[in-house]
Symmetry: D2
Subunit: 290 residues, 4 copies
């Protein structure tokens, strides 16, 4: 296509995501705070490492940064091409999306909150899930570009809806992780063969993405690879609890789980994988989950 596309933020996800764009778009600009990464990306995938200002002069601008605050800081002083669509893949805050869509509208720029799931493997294979909030029109116009990077792409509501779904997804994942750790601790303490037990559970109503994937690949094998920090999960689940508070809702398990995730995050070393939450359960129950 003749549209110019940019990708801002070449972290573990962004680096892999941006790699697919040259297959479809003739001009792809990439920018990263540590600029060497952008230059390496250009070399690896035929993109162009540009200044942030040039990256902002594209038709479709993807961003994938650690927090909404980072995106806000970036956008604050940036001149963006009128008519452009900013597709923000950050796991951000719904209130920030509402603020940014209003600010950018004044500059004739559209904004979509479009967080993704699927981890680095999904980024690599372009099988990500996009949960997108914003106007239906902007969604339709950005859809072809998102389809280059993902498989399931859903318009879930107005501005902020995408971030809300991502936060709720991660909160549900955290709840399932607590459930799995508590279940496993209980069974272990009663002398049950935990791994055989979870094979049964995986074939039963207690199954979750946590029980089929995270328990065997991170906990049972004591690997705890540092891919998604517990502190970032605590941030995301905090966003979910803020949504509950904001609308005066009652969500007891969300509230309790936030306490547990935050406690575990406060107890472990910075950067520890979210799966190390299991270690808090091992400590209070004097068992090893394996």
């Amino acid at each position: 296509m003749t549209q110019i596309v940019s990708f801002i933020g070449l972290g573990a996800m962004g680096y892999r995501m941006a790699a697919h764009l040259p297959q479809t778009f003739s001009e792809v600009r990439v920018w990263n705070r540590t600029f060497e990464k952008a230059q390496q990306h250009a070399k690896d995938y035929g993109t162009q490492a540009t200044s942030l200002e040039e990256a902002a002069q594209a038709d479709i601008i993807f961003s994938c940064l650690p927090t909404s605050q980072d995106v806000e800081h970036l956008i604050a002083t940036l001149e963006i091409k009128p008519g452009a669509i900013w597709v923000d893949c950050t796991s951000g805050v719904p209130a920030s999306a509402k603020k940014l869509i209003a600010e950018l509208k004044l500059k004739d720029v559209d904004y979509l909150d479009a967080p993704v799931s699927g981890q680095t493997i999904g980024a690599e294979k372009a099988t990500l899930t996009f949960m997108v909030g914003g106007s239906a029109d902007a969604f339709e116009r950005a859809l072809p570009a998102m389809q280059v990077l993902g498989k399931l792409i859903k318009h879930v509501g107005d501005s902020g809806a995408g971030f809300a779904v991502k936060a709720v997804n991660n909160m549900m994942m955290a709840i399932h992780l607590c459930a799995a750790c508590e279940g496993a601790s209980t069974l272990k303490s009663h002398g049950v063969n935990v791994q055989e037990a979870f094979e049964c559970i995986n074939a039963s109503s207690g199954q979750s993405a946590i029980t089929t994937s995270i328990l065997p690949n991170r906990v049972f094998n004591r690997a705890f690879p540092s891919t998604f920090a517990l502190a970032l999960l605590a941030k995301d689940t905090g966003i979910a609890l803020d949504l509950v508070q904001e609308n005066k809702l009652s969500a007891p398990i969300i509230a309790s789980t936030q306490s547990l995730v935050q406690a575990a995050s406060n107890l472990v070393e910075a950067g520890s994988d979210f799966s190390t939450l299991a270690k808090m359960y091992e400590s209070i129950n004097k068992v090893t989950i394996e």
Copy 2:
């Protein structure tokens, strides 16, 4: 095979399970409190409707009753064939399994706690999961008979381990149900398209058997079919919490979820499906989950 096999308790699960046995065993005896059901089963599937006493004179005796108490009452006065194995598919109490294995050992009868998952469809297609506690020897001897009824058959530990795994599975399912209801309520209240959102979640880390199956088939469509009563779920989750208490464990999400399941069960009509737990969330959050 020339072994005589019996099946005691022809409820929704048992009726379908027992139907497969004549394919493999030449003599299959069935008994049910409402005897007409046993007679109908004999007519339908070529089994023999016998007295309880005759059913107890088999090599392998399956039971599938509502509670451990029912099994205990039945066994209390029954004369069972020495050398037999009693395979109890009830969703029962681990302590009861330990009591029964000791009692039956005195009569030279083996006992396995062997609850199943897979619902009536799994019973019909013989694709059930068996989670089995008891001696390895009894497990091996009963395995061929269980293989006629199920697909995944696991020996998960000593006596009571099977019941423990089933209770923990159901507790985890209950936690996932609360998570899904809370997540859906939050998203709905914020104007998100809930069903599109859950398609994203089903492709993400927040997925569970609840989100892929129960939400769309029971809640979103407002069907709430009465297949598994909320009161029975409350019984099973209560067994899980008792396991936690018994070994002085700390399982905050299990404890909180038991409160919620019990509250919902106390609020609804007897016999209401476990998925009606969603209605409690709808009531306290003034939303409809659809």
Copy 3:
């Protein structure tokens, strides 16, 4: 004293509080949105009903409004006498105090967040407790005026500290209320004489202001007088949970209690007394707490 003192907001608390000021101060101005109330107050207690603008031209200005937002709206466009101290007795939000102290400093006005406890009876008898946040200097200067209205007056920290203590106090009160309702429901369900039981508890380690005062005076006697709305308690406890979230703390009982208070508040009629939280417990446990 020759200082001019104002009182803004003559609700159930403010009306009674302002009544004491003329004993000590020669000029006391009062203002209320419904102005008749101010005129009545002037007639009853020798204060002066003035315009909001005149009230803002005092040396010490008390305010007692429903929420921090109300105070912010009022102050936004108001010209306040330089050198004045604004003593805000609202049960407000710590972040709002920090915002107001900064804004007012530009106008050479001091601001104290100075919420009170002691209910209308304490306001009437001038035995209120003041928990005050802000500068030590402003506290010292406002102390004589606060001493006219209260008995225990504490400087608990910098700006926002007063509001934080009030929110935490009310959260603790809410937790104690849940504890009392759960304890009473459990005892009632087991056939215990609940009122005799709570006489014992009141003499034991389980005592709280809830068990000595609220249970007998509002719940056991089925009075549930509407003095402090459950919705306002939910607001205050929400402030406490926000404090927890803001600093990434883990407070499981605070989090769970917020869910319960919010659920109860969503279920009852607007204006229902906070003690009607007991009715939610009665409903889920099928008991009457009496």
Copy 4:
């Protein structure tokens, strides 16, 4: 009086309680597993150190042992004087009271579950609170003896009611302790002067026996004196949660608190005072409560 009275179990409480009996009763027998303690008691207070068998031949027999199991073991083989009343001051299990009252009735012996509160200071000053379950007749007959040891003596219901009230009291105390620790952690983290804050709370609706006594005397001063073990509190709160489970009640704060108390108990050294629960909160919130 001419009745013979015995006291079995001369621990920290029992030793002080039994000391008052000779003032009123001419013959007081005491027994303790470590018999030297009984002999010392006889020397100190004019009681008679006897064998367990002789102690059981009294008109009124007090017992004060660590658990219901200890009482059951003792009573199992003991010959007790027909017509006697056994007043069990242990913090015991309601189900055990029901079992013992039935067993002892066969021997024409009455049984009262009569746990006490008031700590060692209350035992010393004879100002204990007795919460008593059992028959009204036995209560009336044992009342004069209990009045020698306590101040508030209440018949709260049938057999087991006394134990239930004690367990619920201790559960409420545990909830209040969690509330106080969470509130203090939150305030501390926000820079509030915690001790001044709690002086305000003690004069407000958030007051409890924990905030007025335990926080200043055990936590703020870092004393944590080992008088009542966290493990024993976990036992008592466990009894309360069992009462909830037994009657299919929903008590979310009781359930959550049990998780926290049990976790803290599993984390600390054996024998640590219940107030060390504060240290768990300090650890997960990276604050010191002082």
